[in-house]
Symmetry: C3
Subunit: 330 residues, 3 copies
């Protein structure tokens, strides 16, 4: 009888669960499993497409003969997870949509491999760029043809640069909703409960990452508040989710955690929130959302930059672990 | 008496003919010559500007001291061919236009050398990016100033993202016109006869490339059909020409032809057609055409990606030949 | 008693002055000092923000542990100078604006280090890209939120692509104003006197650079004139400032000055002026200015390209000096 670890179905499921966990840099199948629970809690359509996207992108990587170590670590899964959720989030769910989910996930795997090759010259990670680029290609096209019906969120989720009327007053609820939903919105989950489930899922793998997820969401919200954002997008967490990802990446994961890297990461979160506003303005003429592109370009800037900064100590690629294990081998 | 091969005029003409052939990756002066015939058959203005652009870009490469082997292979000509045709295609022909053709061709040579240096780190080809970037710089500018008069095609060739009204019904003619014009539109030729002449020209050098030119045009059309495109752009080949180039590049030329690379190339053609719709949407606010940029970015994605895919066997750069010769030395 | 050269305040001031000088590639504190005088002459708000931006970006580089040689040469200052001036130029001056100047300058230092790491693979300079990218991120955001009040220049300084009505006739004043203001507009100075002060400042360090600054401004103006630009932007120097920077960079600084590199640089200045029109068209839908991005991409194109051109002799990075010193060691 075969041991479960050598079973290829077991390995595939493990890679998919880690893939979902890797959306927030957590190489842990339990974290990924709880993430899926959180998504299904909010919506079974989003949950199903998340699973389908993760499986499709991982399967395509196997079929094309990608590196087994990378597949096993879920690195060909997380862009598929996001590519899967994005479509039913912005378009009305239909059986045909599932075909587009599979195409989007497959394309994200190809762009992932392309960016790994490109960025490998500097030892830089692709982050969620493959998801964003693949989804933009499909969404711009879908907006042109009538095949996918745009859901109500496509219009409302893009903050209007000309609206400065504040609907709703800033209150404690703005912060409670905004910070938890900010974590949820990393995977398009407009739900306080799902946001909390996501934090618990990260806690399973790393307390430091869980702290930074919440802290990043708060910094993103505060930045937009100082910039005099109206209340609605603050409460939806729309200025939080990019900063959440900036925070987890730079908060003890790619850098050794200390006061200097903490301040550096915090500045990155602030710029992540500002970039969310800026890239929304840039895409406003075609009515398309920024997805996680603000996180991607801002984090690339900060990570490319730190190689030239003697006071910002990066963890060598071959030593990367959880923020906790990084602290043990400084 | 000097042998013709050592005559510098002969060498220049040979480089220009190969340059025209290289628009579709055919390093063959006869193919290039028949391409020119096809362009002149459709329009003497387009033909004259194609010749002028090819000659100007090749001449500038010689004057600046570019690598002689690259010049000889026509690699400083093909972007000039396209840079030459694009201007009289989008603007009303006038003697002044010829000055802009020469500037556009010269700029394409500079961008070609720049991209060769940039992409050389990964051994990636520049494709038609020099033509697209140079032409965009000149066209955006021309649209601002009144010096060049926009032709009727500039408005109509950009598919309107808000038009979903199908003018005309899908028929056998949609396919016959669309597939042949798709090959023609690679060089802005809205002509069934020119499309057929182009296929014959490719046949002279490679039957496999000729097959993929037609197959790519068909896949591009079918993809747009499934996406519920109106009939008019299908019949004009507007969703075909990017896929034609994807197909020739990945169909046995840069990869060893087998079932795995065939499926990989076909997926690339599908994405090429989708990207044509998406990039048209992106450029719609400024009313500018996508040119062959969809082909360029999609093919770069697939070619950068395949270095990480063990099942997709790329032909080493120093072994590149026709698809037929690649098959002999796998 | 400490010698002034070892005094850290002296070193900081020296780095800031050189930083201001580096806006036009002059590694000379006297040049930088006269630049500051020119800016203050035109406007004390612009002058104050220029000093604050230069100091902030240099300080952040020191705090993050950037390379001391680069800091000393002012390479972490010049983007801060521009990042500082741009905000009070486009937005109404207010005490809050100073916070954004500091954020913009700090971000420019991070992007500078990122681009140095990225472009270092090819030995290419970052030019003013850090200033442009940082300022765009902040300006797009500021246009979304109401915190910064847009000044009248934000609307008027973006040439309207649909306006072809010539207000004012071309006269000798168009040339006198346009050429001097073109040099001034490199640092957003709409002043003939400041333009002349800038030329004098460059003269202190290099007569060749001073010549090319004026020559570039003229070529940029002439190019736009041939393209039938209306008179107003010509006279404001809006088609000159990008060509000024192209001219100083390629005119004897990065290349050994001879007739071939002179013609190559002149073509670069022409394309710089054309690109200014094109990038304005590209950004028109969101109403944002092109800043010095036309100079950046065009100069990158020409400098990446010249590595493949045997007739264009580049100065090796370790030999870079003034155009005059380059001529002595060809």
């Amino acid at each position: 009888m075969e041991a479960p670890k050598n079973n290829s179905l077991f390995q595939f499921v493990d890679a998919c669960l880690r893939g979902c966990g890797q959306v927030m840099f957590q190489n842990n199948p339990v974290t990924g499993f709880i993430f899926f629970i959180g998504i299904f809690y909010n919506s079974w359509e989003l949950g199903f497409c998340a699973v389908l996207g993760t499986a499709a992108s991982t399967f395509v990587a196997i079929a094309l003969g990608a590196d087994k170590g990378l597949i096993k670590a879920g690195l060909f899964g997380f862009n598929g997870t996001l590519a899967g959720i994005a479509l039913p989030f912005y378009f009305v769910y239909s059986p045909e949509l599932l075909l587009y989910v599979v195409i989007n996930a497959a394309l994200s795997t190809i762009i992932m491999s392309a960016l790994m090759n490109f960025l490998g010259k500097w030892g830089m990670p692709a982050l969620t760029a493959p998801f964003v680029l693949a989804t933009w290609i499909l969404m711009f096209c879908a907006s042109k043809f009538g095949i996918l019906e745009a859901g109500s969120l496509l219009a409302t989720s893009i903050p209007d640069p000309h609206t400065t009327i504040s609907v709703g007053k800033i209150s404690a609820m703005t912060f409670l909703d905004g910070v938890t939903k900010g974590v949820g919105e990393v995977m398009f989950e407009d739900s306080v409960v799902t946001g909390i489930i996501f934090v618990i899922a990260i806690l399973v793998n790393s307390r430091i990452s869980a702290f930074f997820a919440v802290f990043g969401s708060l910094i993103g919200l505060l930045t937009a508040l100082v910039m005099q954002s109206p209340e609605a997008p603050l409460r939806l967490g729309l200025y939080g989710y990019n900063s959440v990802l900036c925070a987890i990446a730079l908060g003890g994961l790619f850098y050794y955690l200390n006061w200097k890297t903490f301040l550096y990461a915090t500045f990155c979160m602030i710029i992540g929130s500002i970039a969310q506003a800026s890239i929304s303005v840039l895409l406003a003429p075609i009515g398309m959302p920024s997805l996680t592109w603000p996180f991607v370009i801002v984090t690339w800037m900060f990570m490319f930059a730190s190689k030239g900064f003697g006071h910002i100590a990066a963890v060598p690629a071959e030593m990367l672990g959880t923020p906790e294990s990084n602290l043990k081998h400084p």
